[in-house]
Amino acid sequence: MSSLHTERQIRPIYDALDSGSHKSALVACNKLLKKHPKNDHLKALKALALTRAQKFEEAIVLCEEVLSTRPTDDGTMNALMHALRHLGRFADLVKLFEDAFKQQPENDEFGRQAFFANVRMGNWKAAQQLANKLNKQFHNDRYVFWGIMCTVLQANDPMTAAEMRNILLKLAHRLITASWKQGEVHPDRLHLHTTILQQLGLHKDARELLDTESGRLLCARNISCDYLRREIMKAGGWQSEEGITAEERVVEKRDRNWLEFVSILDATFLPSADHQLIQLDPLQRVAKTRDLFTKIAEEDGSHDRSAWLGLMELERLCIVREVPSDPSRLLNLLKRYFEIFGDKAACYEDLRPYSDLYSEVLSDWIKFLEGITHIPSSGASLRRSLNAHKLLRYGLSAAQLTVEQESVRAAGLEREYFDALPLGKDIPNLELQPADDLAILAAQVHVNMYALDNAVAHLHNAVVLLEYASKKSPQSYQIHLELVRIYRRLGAPQLALDHYRLLNVKQVQNDTMSHLILSRATNFSLAATGDLAYASQCLEASHIYFSNSQDTSEFIVKAFGTEKYSQIPELVVFEERLDNSLQRDLVKIEHVRLRISHEQITSELVDMELIELKFIFDRLHHDNRDLEVLPNYQPRGQPSFLSQTTLFGNEPAAGWLSIFLKIYIKALSGASDLDLSVEDDKLLVGDRPRPRSNPDAKISLTDRLTVQTADELSELTDDEVALFHYVVELTKWLDPFHNFLRPRVEAAKQPPKSSNSANDGVSENGHGRKPDDTPHITEPPDSILSYFKNARARFTKVVEETRPIYEILHIATLAQEALFLFFVCTKRFKDASVVRINKLGVLVQHIKSLRASVIDIVREIGTQLTKISELEGTADKRRQFVEHCKALQTHSELTHEYVLDVGKRVTDSQKKVLEGVGSGIVRVCKTPM
């Protein structure tokens, strides 16, 4: 590629790639490759174009071809780097640059890139060694710090043994002490140095370091350093001195950082004997701090809440630390606070933790709140009224929560909502309506009434009001979220999804929020009829995990480049938490459940999903789900709005995931030719995930699949538990035949056999098997058919009892899933020649007759469901809906037509899901795979 001639020809390929036209880039590559078939640069560009066109398999082959030539020219390396990054093949990236650096050790760019490639992989040890090499070769301070950072990261890696951790930290300490320059001006280097001392417990050294002139200057300028300084002061037991510093900052510099107030409070309640104010007893110390805060609070007035909050926190800590204080003091503070800050939206959240500390003054507090007038004449008076409503509701006792009393409250809130709406008529539509919270509160009251008497009318009232409020305030995520939850409860999944999509969930919110719509998504999906709304929502929610593995590692690389050491550990934790997110795999399993209901069950599907689920099985998960994002205004001690709208009373978590993984790994491995005991499967795209230090992982996978704990099962509904037992029975019956027919694993790949392997006795079969060795054919256990019979009985029962739609769907969709799993487990025996050669005719007869009976039962459920759906979405149902919301129609804004329209959409959505699931089941029964 030296001639200018070819470079001119290559330009258009770059242009095509830049402008996103992968096809023309590919055509151009192919054309030039005909003339220059050995040109690596062209091959690398072609690989890049292929990855962009999502043709990963071809791209991988080409990448490997170029890699094997150990290229060193910039063009080839660059193109290959982009292609490998896109493919997630970071291990190859490491090889590429390490090879190049070895060939040209004077090229620091190759060295840096090799370092970065290791950083992307989280290979801290290798990265540290490269940083050392770079420093020796090119003498640059930054390489020293890179190496030290990597040593610290290696020490804190979950895979590093405890004793090794200390050795590594000591090494980092030695390195940083050796290279530390007096008067270092880089805040992040100071941060790194202090962190090492902190982690080694050398608090005194850390304090001295921060106390140097440059240390003090950097702490004053840099929040991260100052934050670390606070931690050191606390860990070193210097709270008393920190308290004095904080007081100076608050009084002299008028610093109103809440952390300063916390420091003063920490010092006040310090039990240790070396307190500088030792001459004062605890009571006097509290009094002193109280005087200080009172003085500041009075000075600040309504300008700043810190000192006021500090005073209340002081009273709370008095209770915790058993320092006597007069309850009326807190009561007066609460009242003063409400008077001064009652018109701030944050007032409710500020006061809630203090409002019920003393039961003896609670009634006075409630009386005070009841005295607040609720005439929303301005934004400020509306917010004051809202705060009073929320605090009053928080303080309600169980005895005050009857349906009658709640319904009076709901009506009052609704009236106030419509009265307050005009206050926001001129507000730009990007802003929230000031009256929103009244509707949100009223809806929660309705949901609470539903929790009390199970009358669906309450939910109907809630959605009519919220739908109206969401039109008025389209940006209110809280209203959308409430609707999502209530629609799920009503069995109107399409409407729930519509509102969820209006939230425009982005980036990492997909991880923290998608549980609100996607938990047990299979319950509501119409995938079997080809409606992939929920399936595609699963895919959309999962995108963040792929972009995380590419983007976050790039951010880490960037942070090294700009020496932002204080941010690197946080980014590493972020990447790890997202990579091993519980929600990630809950969504994954939902997607697999949906996938088998609408796709042909091919061996590619089976193998790919099996490989992935096996990886997931060994993950140690982080639960990143945000449970606070949904507002909760239910009284203290009562179930939250979130739990009131959680289906089946429990939310799937790690235990649920574990059981469903077992279900699917068992079933899919039956249909797959991959041997469960072989764990070195090759992933198509990306590297093999890093092994986790799961202590159970030493036991073989086959054995781990057979264990289940009561804790795990407690996260399942009874019907899901039944499905699990059904799969256990089904696979127990068929596994000997699967193992017999599965091609034998090549000897080289066979891992050392554990003595308790469940495969014993059958793993010797395979290629060398003789038909005479066919395992003894038994009749199917009765439990398989009885699972379906029980499901039908359960279904009939919930229908007769007119249980909520989501419960009816639950039994039906699980029965359908059981049928699909039956298809998966028996797929192998559809091949007539295999059956004949291996003399499995009798087994196939058993399967056939069982399948016919099973299909009959499931079809019956489907037909029933279709019948039930005919009763929904009728004029009668709509009339009922409107009747339920009669009280709401006293507000002129909620006309009969409006309520009817909402009612129509709700009942239509309910009808659609029942009808869809029903016809999906019938369709599947007609064309069994």
Binding site: R221, W258, E313, A345, A346, E349, P353
Partner: protein, 142 residues
Amino acid sequence: MCCTAQHPSGRLMGYVIGKAEGSPHDFHGHVTALTVAPDYRRLSLARTLMNFLETVSDDVYGGLFVDLYVRCTNSIAIDLYEGLGYSVYRRVREYYGSLGLGPGGKDEEDAFDMRKPLSRDPYRRSVRPNGRDMIVSAHDVS
């Protein structure tokens, strides 16, 4: 730079994201984003966060001024920034162009580039009084 404001309960109340940019003769702080959650409005949080960003731009980076872009329709934000000492330096056409014309017309997709001089610019050379009439196209700004 990113700085968040947290409630004592741990909830996030708001954040400011900014960066230092520009060549030596117009080195300045830039506000990438400023957000305060609805529940924590009217507590002077925006002012606190902006003060912090200005202090960092001034003391740490020695910038001449701080600048930011704001949608011309966003009167609430414009009032806030004017209250903090910012003034319009120029109007940038179709800065938010990808969204197309909304109900606010041109004001919806145009941005004001607002600036506030810092201590290194005592003669206030980085601002001008008639900024609203200075119109540039989105291509002219980076």
